[in-house]
Every structure is written in C-alpha cells, then in structure tokens.
C-alpha cells in the first residue's frame, strides 16, 4: 500500500466532513423520497384515473433511466430552463425524486398486500374511509413493506456515491481527491469500498433486527 496513513490521519476532518455529507444527504433523501413515494402511491390509488396514468408514466420513466442521466439532466440541463442549482441541492432533489419513484411502487404493492377482509372488518364496525386508511391500511402496510423499504434505503446509500460525479463533496469525492493528491487512488478506493461495505452491513443488520422485532405484528395465519 502506498497510501500514507499518517497523511490520511491528518485529513481526518475532511474525511469526516465527507462522511457527514453522505449520511445526511442519504437520510434526508430517503425520508423525503419515502414520503413522496407514499403520496404518489396514495394519489394513484385514490385519485381520478388521469392522475394515475400521468404518475405511472413519470414513475416508469424514472425507473427506466439511469440515475446518472437524471442527475445530469437536472444539474446540467436545469440552468437552461432557469433551474440553477448548487451541487448539494441538485443531488438532494435528484436522489429524492429517484427514490420517490421506487418507494411509490413499494407502497403500491403494500396497499394491495393488505388482505381485503381486514378492510371489510373495519367497514363492518363502522370505521370511515379516512379512519380505515389511517388506522388499518397505513400501519399494516408499513409492517408488510418494511423489508423492501430497508433494501431501498441500502440501495440509496450506494447511490449517494454517484453524487460525487456532480461534485457533491461526499465521501467518494473527498477520499477520491485525497487519493489523487497522494498518487494512491487505488488504495484510497479500497479504503472507501471498505467504508461503504461496513456502512451497508450495519444498515442491513439494523434492518433485520427491526424486522424481527416487528414480525409479530404481521399476519401469521
């Protein structure tokens, strides 16, 4: 290894700053993306048919094109339609919209996965439409889609690395820059890979723990 760990240590504040950007961008984009996805799924389910068609088209376009191309379109194309964004806001918006498309599909499947009878039972005891949505569908669906949401969140940590291409100063960009300065790019990338690997494994572990603890709320019979 030609990477100078003494020097790396000196750069620790920079690296931590990069890690911080990775984490907060990830958390915010995941949370906003999930919220957006839920709204889209609900609008497609309860809205008039044209809304459903339009949203479906948008979701299919977002799911059928690479995230990098979406990002380029937003970041480099945006200024031509009056949308001039700094790298971090551009990355955040791009990642949120991208995540929203995938989350909406997860929630759509979740709505369908709640057994019809559970809604009928709620109708029979007199719950209104909005009460059924809030008290029955939403919590039950959350339990059902939790594993997919965890997978999606993990996928999104990895997608944050792509933000380095539009110069968002997150972990990949920071460590890549340090590696280039020291002519030890491969070593730096190896270190970076280990970083992500540990991060993803930790998230996977937390997800599995959460899933195990919530399993009793799910339907057994």
């Amino acid at each position: 290894m030609s990477l100078d760990f003494g020097l790396m240590l000196e750069k620790l504040p920079e690296i931590l700053a990069g890690l911080w950007v990775t984490i907060w961008v990830w958390v915010v984009a995941t949370a906003l993306g999930a919220a957006l996805g839920f709204l889209v799924a609900a609008a497609r389910r309860y809205g008039p048919p044209p809304v459903d068609w339009l949203l479906r088209l948008l979701v299919e376009i977002l799911r059928g094109t690479p995230f990098l191309v979406q990002l380029f379109l937003l970041y480099f194309g945006g200024p031509f339609v009056g949308l001039r964004l700094e790298p971090i806001p551009a990355g955040l918006i791009g990642l949120t919209v991208y995540a929203g498309a995938y989350f909406s599909e997860i929630f759509r499947a979740g709505f369908d996965a709640v057994p019809r009878g559970h809604v009928e039972a709620a109708q029979c005891v007199g719950l209104s439409r909005s009460q059924i949505l809030r008290r029955i569908l939403l919590p039950e669906m959350t339990m059902l889609v939790l594993p997919q949401c965890v997978n999606m969140a993990i996928l999104l940590i990895k997608e944050t690395a792509i933000l380095s291409i539009i110069t968002v100063p997150e972990m990949t960009m920071v460590i890549g820059a340090i590696g280039s300065q020291q002519y030890a790019f491969a070593d730096a990338m190896f270190l970076l890979a280990l970083f992500y690997w540990v991060l993803v494994e930790i998230c996977g572990l937390l997800g599995r723990i959460a899933e195990a603890r919530l399993s009793k709320f799910r339907f057994a019979a």
């Binding site: 690479p66 990098l68 380029f72 194309g77 990895k158 690395a161 990338m189 970076l192 690997w197």
Partner: protein
C-alpha cells in the same frame, strides 16, 4: 440535432446494450459458481462465496469500477478501460445473480425432491431434471430485472472513459452546449431499451410457463 449526431447516439446505445449483455452473461456464469459455492456444505467454499456476495452488493458500483480500473494497472495488468468496465459490471451482477439463483434453488418445494427420491432419481439427476429447471423458471423474472438494472448501471462506466450512451451524451452536450437535448435523448434511448427488455422478459416468462405447468 442533426441526423449524424443522432446516429452517434444510436451507435452508443448499441454499445451500451452489447457491454451490458456481455456482462450479464459472464455475471450469470460467475453467479452460478458463486451460488454453488455458497450452497456447498464445505465452509472453505461457502465462506468466500458469502464474502464475495456481501462485498459486491455492499459497495457502490461506482466505487467498484474506480477500484478495478485503478487496481489492475497497479498490480501490473494493463487493459483497455472497456475491459475493466466489463470486469466490474460482471462481478457486481454476479453477486446479485448468485443470490437470485440461491433464492430460486431454495424455493423448489422439498416435496418435489422427496418424490424424485422415492422414484429413485440420483442426487445429480434430481438437480438436472427437477431442481435446476424449476429454479430457472423461478429465477427468470429476477434475471430480467437484473438485466434492466445492469443496463442502467452501465451508465457509470462513462466515468472510467468508456464511450457508451451516457458518455456520448455528455460529450455531445458539452460540444454543442445542448445538455437538455442530449440527456433527454439518452434517457429516451435507455427507456426504449429497458422497456424492450421488460417486454421480452414478460414474453419469455409466458413461454416458460406454456405447456409445462
């Protein structure tokens, strides 16, 4: 956009398809081996397979590509960037395909194998005649899905300098100063490719079912 520039984009889209297809096929081969190793009772085989799957699914593809692209020359292997790109894409998809295959193999109902046992099929015959065909059918949708993921992920090899669809769009956007146009066209071409693969996959699934189940 002049016809000539559009031709360039089409050519680059073709390149994207070819590189993705090669990576998927190589990845399927490696994935089968990794899956077999992971299912093996021998821990000397299953442990490395577990690590392989965990690493390549746990690290962003971009970082994998940058690592491989820079690591190969560092250990004295000098290859064109497109080879490094195919190696990176293949290893990444291999990890995912190994997991898909394992899921398929494990979903074959035990009773079918017990029935095969009772009529005297050997373990190898069971694998060949019962387990593998059923597992393949169960894995087909995941394989189609993976192909679409790799088609989209291949946009990242633009970063190591392969002139595929995304890189071509980038170059033309920069030289003509029309990013909206070229990234939109690139997006549309990706859509056409992905929807075609998805449609073909649905057709293949129907054909895999017909007359067999």
């Amino acid at each position: 956009m002049s016809l000539r520039l559009f031709e360039l984009m089409l050519w680059a889209a073709g390149y994207t398809v070819v590189i993705s297809a090669i990576s998927i096929v190589i990845g399927l081969g490696i994935g089968l081996l990794v899956c077999a190793a992971k299912l093996s009772p021998n821990r000397l085989l299953s442990l490395p397979a577990t690590l392989f799957i965990s690493f390549f699914r746990g690290v962003p593809l971009l970082v994998q590509l940058l690592l491989i692209y820079n690591l190969l020359p560092a250990v004295g292997i000098s290859v064109p960037s497109v080879v490094a790109a195919v190696v990176g894409l293949s290893l990444c998809t291999a990890a995912y395909q190994a997991e898909n295959l394992r899921g398929g193999f494990n979903s074959v109902p035990k009773g079918l194998l017990e029935a095969a046992d009772m009529v005297g099929l050997t373990p190898w015959q069971q694998l060949k005649r019962i387990r593998a065909p059923i597992a393949f059918r169960l894995t087909l949708p995941a394989l189609v899905n993976e192909a679409i993921l790799i088609l989209k992920a291949s946009s990242l090899i633009s970063v190591v300098g392969v002139i595929e669809l995304t890189r071509m769009a980038q170059n033309l956007a920069a030289s003509t100063y029309k990013p909206l146009l070229f990234y939109s066209v690139a997006g549309a071409l990706y859509l056409v490719i992905c929807w075609t693969v998805a449609g073909g996959g649905a057709l293949a699934e129907r054909m895999a079912r017909v007359g067999r189940a």
